[in-house]
């Protein structure tokens, strides 16, 4: 199944023509995150407040006195977009209740990169999710601190070379597996968690629309390819996102009230080598290392398959008298 076939034909019917993330921002050529944000805003529509963590997006889109945002937008600091969002959401609630603002549903949407979500912002995110604020958090994961110059984060994949754990004769680059932030969010028992990638724009926008409708906290982990940091040509951005998904490195799924579902199941999976070999950040990996990555990707994928259709969570369970 190819969900983006004939996209040009269907796109005008599928999405808003209005741009809420305007052109003229300073994102790099081929930036997956800028594209994803543009699509996210279209899916969210006008009644949205964006709360941005410090990172590439805040830097490229709001150089004073310019702004790319046609939606109300606030940025305070790096680790706290979930916290600021909690305050915005609480304010909207009480101001609506007191009749100080229109009684209409305005969604608070927090955004942050992988550093602002997996690492420095994880506590704030966890607190906000646990407290059950009615907001959506979207993590745009480009797998390193790209804004400051490609440093290692908890989201950097195994074997990638970054500027703070570079590959060398005594190092293979990052020697740890990527943190699974979507699972951490599932463990918070929030109503909706999904993974997405702008290489699958309709899937991504559908998830954003769905998340918006949930009362309570929802989370989308969006894989955003960074040609600059991944050392790939900027024209390869969309293709690389598709390879991440089709190799099983980044499966597309959603978890609705605890129930897992693949939104795209590209089996048989492509060999992970096809994904890795195209990227400069993995250039140094030996065939043996790639083989070990392949094994781990399959293991992680199978664990997800188990959660989707191998378990009995939804069966009736009789209790003792």
């Amino acid at each position: 199944m190819n969900i983006v076939e004939n996209f040009d034909l269907y796109a005008p019917k599928l999405t808003d023509k209005k741009e809420y993330f305007s052109p003229g921002h300073r994102a790099c050529q081929g930036c997956g995150e800028a594209l994803a944000i543009r699509l996210m805003c279209k899916a969210l529509g006008k009644d949205t407040i964006i709360v941005n963590a410090t990172g590439c997006m805040e830097v490229v889109s709001t150089m004073y006195p310019t702004t790319a945002w046609e939606l109300p937008w606030i940025h305070v600091a790096f680790p706290n977009s979930a916290s600021v969002g909690a305050g915005v959401e609480a304010a909207l609630k009480v101001l609506r209740r007191k009749g100080k603002i229109d009684d209409r549903d305005v969604k608070t949407v927090c955004i942050g990169g992988d550093g602002g979500t997996f690492d420095i912002g994880l506590q704030a995110l966890s607190g906000t999710m646990e407290r059950g604020h009615d907001l959506l958090y979207v993590c745009f994961d480009n797998e390193a601190y790209m804004n400051t110059g490609i440093q290692r984060s908890g989201a950097t994949p195994f074997g990638a070379s970054t500027t703070t754990n570079p590959a060398g004769s005594a190092s293979i680059g990052k020697n740890q597996w990527k943190k699974n932030v979507a699972e951490i969010m599932v463990a918070h028992n929030v109503p909706y968690v999904a993974t997405a990638c702008p290489s699958y724009p309709v899937d991504f926008m559908n998830k954003v629309k769905k998340a918006r409708e949930f009362k309570g906290p929802s989370f989308i982990h969006c894989m955003s390819v960074c040609p600059t940091g991944w050392r790939i040509p900027s024209a390869e951005c969309i293709k690389m996102g598709r390879l991440a998904v089709e190799s099983g490195v980044f499966p597309l799924y959603e978890v609705e009230n605890g129930r897992y579902r693949f939104t795209y199941r590209p089996e048989p999976l492509r060999p992970v080598e096809q994904y890795i070999k195209k990227q400069g950040r993995f250039r140094h990996l030996t065939p043996e290392t790639i083989e070990s990555v392949q094994k781990r990707v399959i293991l992680e994928y199978k664990k997800l398959v188990d959660r989707v259709d191998g378990l009995h969570s939804w069966d009736e369970l009789e209790l003792a008298d």
Partner: protein, 392 residues
Amino acid sequence: MSKRIGMEIALAAAEAVALCRPEVIAAYPITPNTHIPEHLSDIVADGRLDAEFICVESEHTALSACCGASGAGARAFTATSSQGLAYMTEIVPIASAMRLPIVMIIGNRALSGPINIWNDQSDVMYQRDAGWISMFANNGQEVIDMAIQSFKIAEHRDVLLPVNLNLDGFQLTHVVEPMEMPDQAEVDSFLPSFKPLATLHPDKAVSMGTLGLPDIFNEAMEAKDEVLKNSRKVILDVWKEWKQKFGRTYEPIEACKMKGAEIAFLSMGSMGETAEVAVDELRKQGVPVGLLKLRLWRPFPFQELKKAVKGVKVLVVLDRAVSFGGPGGPAFSEVRSALYNEPDKPFVMNEIIGLGGRDVRVEDFVKIIEKAQKALKTKPKEDYEIYGVRGS
């Protein structure tokens, strides 16, 4: 009609804040301020106040959530102490730069380490240059009054800055005092509801907290400095109105027994109450001593200070914080610097006292006066001393 009450000051602070109808309260427990948010959560739980009380997971989030709430147009309040304030540090200067009129009560407590839950003022001094209006209360009544005044000052169109109100941990937070509590109608007539200049709302999309490159950064800092300096006028106006409505006087520096004073103490916070007793005693013994209570820390009251020290020969600045390896306590170095270019200025000496909850007694002021009297004749060479260090 105001009501005479006897209450723990932290609870009275919460009652006063509730009278201001805050809409979002975000706070995290830390001794000794904790009774303030606890009591506010009681008030919200009892339906006496229509507010969102966010039980945050950290102080960093407490202030961040207040920024979000204030940006969205809600009246926002938080309270903290010591490490909690230190943990907020990243957000403190951002709140003022974004011109968000948040009110924060600080139950002043020593910064670690060693860890110590008791009172001094090292926590707020750590935030000195963050661009907030900063005021000190001497007693329970002032806490009530200044909490209410803080919202009015913060939200004034010519100000739009966050305010921190300082009350000494335990010495004030946990003490029961008789106080006058204004009623809701009185507070409502003094403090109108918050009408923000711009808010986060889709009807008019604005971007808040954008990136400032070097070409505008100096200008942004100049603007922040100007607005904080100019807030002085609004603060004085609000205090004038308070006197008219409630009859109690507030001034940037309160002068006690300063007529003919050759030696004067300058204190901040609750220590002023003890110092006042000491000054009364010393005056009875014929010592020409007076007391200045510095209430307004930021914007710093230069004019009032210069006027207040006219004729004083030795000014003893009492600090409850150390600037390690620096020129002395923070209040001392600012006071001395403020007077440096004055042709007729007192000799300024510094006693750093009452750190981490060490008691400051009337006798201590008497001892300090003896030293100040010596300084009248021979000016000591040491800039400052940490008072009462054992074994010294």
